[in-house]
């Protein structure tokens, strides 16, 4: 099945991105396709490559980047939400791209299920 994922919170402060990540990994393991992961609201902070967690903590930015590389997943950061929060190409981690909100709607249209993770 084709799944679309919406992430509305950044890493660390809320569990949303953690849960979405583990859900995505499990969906891939079960043979589903991830049509797109869309980062909105504070979710755009997941793409900040300057993020440097403590060594004994998970590194969600890198985990998303690696998952995108390994499984060719489309990670889209909303441009409007990103601009106001200061997420720009110069600090964008590998595997993420910045694009419009229409990409979220299009994912809703194309995916068989849309799952929302937030606060």
């Amino acid at each position: 099945m084709k799944l679309g994922i919406l992430i509305k919170q950044g890493p660390f402060t809320h569990q949303a991105s953690d849960t979405a990540y583990l859900f995505t990994v499990a969906a891939l393991a079960k043979g589903h396709e991830i049509y797109r992961v869309f980062f909105y609201n504070d979710g755009v902070y997941n793409s900040n490559k300057l993020s440097e967690p403590q060594t004994d903590d998970r590194d969600l930015v890198s985990l998303w980047s690696k998952l995108a590389a390994d499984h060719n997943i489309d990670l889209v950061v909303c441009v409007a939400a990103a601009l106001r929060r200061g997420i720009k190409d110069e600090i964008l981690a590998e595997g993420f791209r910045i694009s419009g909100l229409g990409q979220l709607v299009e994912a809703g249209i194309q995916a068989d299920r849309t799952i929302v993770f937030g606060d």
Binding site: A80, L101, G102, G118
Partner: protein, 129 residues
């Protein structure tokens, strides 16, 4: 406004945006409205629900000049220009807050929880704000 795929697919789905948060205290109301407006360009069957504190988003006479934030409440009127006409407000939520449809900035359909449940039951994509 953002860019979007010009060559929209033929599929028409039922999109529902569920608004349960008050405006200004958090940005969710504003950013959800932005998605709702973009969605209108995709020729999908779009609905908005306002329930719990979400009904406060539509309270008329908002004036945010003294808190320095953007007053986006008039933008709800643009939904009509974009032919987004399925706008539902939960009756029980309004009543618990001492409000009526007359207090709202746009015309809406006020439905009971029971009726709203049937609206929710018809959707393909449900996005919470």
């Amino acid at each position: 406004m953002e860019e979007w795929e010009e060559e929209g697919p033929e599929i028409v789905k039922k999109f529902l945006y569920v608004n349960r948060r008050a405006p200004y205290g958090t940005i969710y109301a504003l950013e959800c409205l932005e998605v709702a407006l973009i969605t209108a360009a995709f020729d999908q069957e779009e609905s908005l629900i306002f329930m719990d504190d979400g009904v406060f988003q539509l309270k008329k006479n908002q004036d945010s000049s003294d808190i320095g934030m953007k007053n986006f409440s008039k933008t709800y009127r643009a939904l009509d220009d974009y032919d987004v006409e399925r706008i539902y407000v939960e009756k029980e939520s309004l009543e618990a807050r001492g409000l009526t449809a007359d207090d709202l900035i746009i015309p809406v359909e006020v439905l009971s929880s029971e009726e709203l449940r049937e609206i929710i039951d018809k959707q393909d994509v449900v996005i919470s704000s």
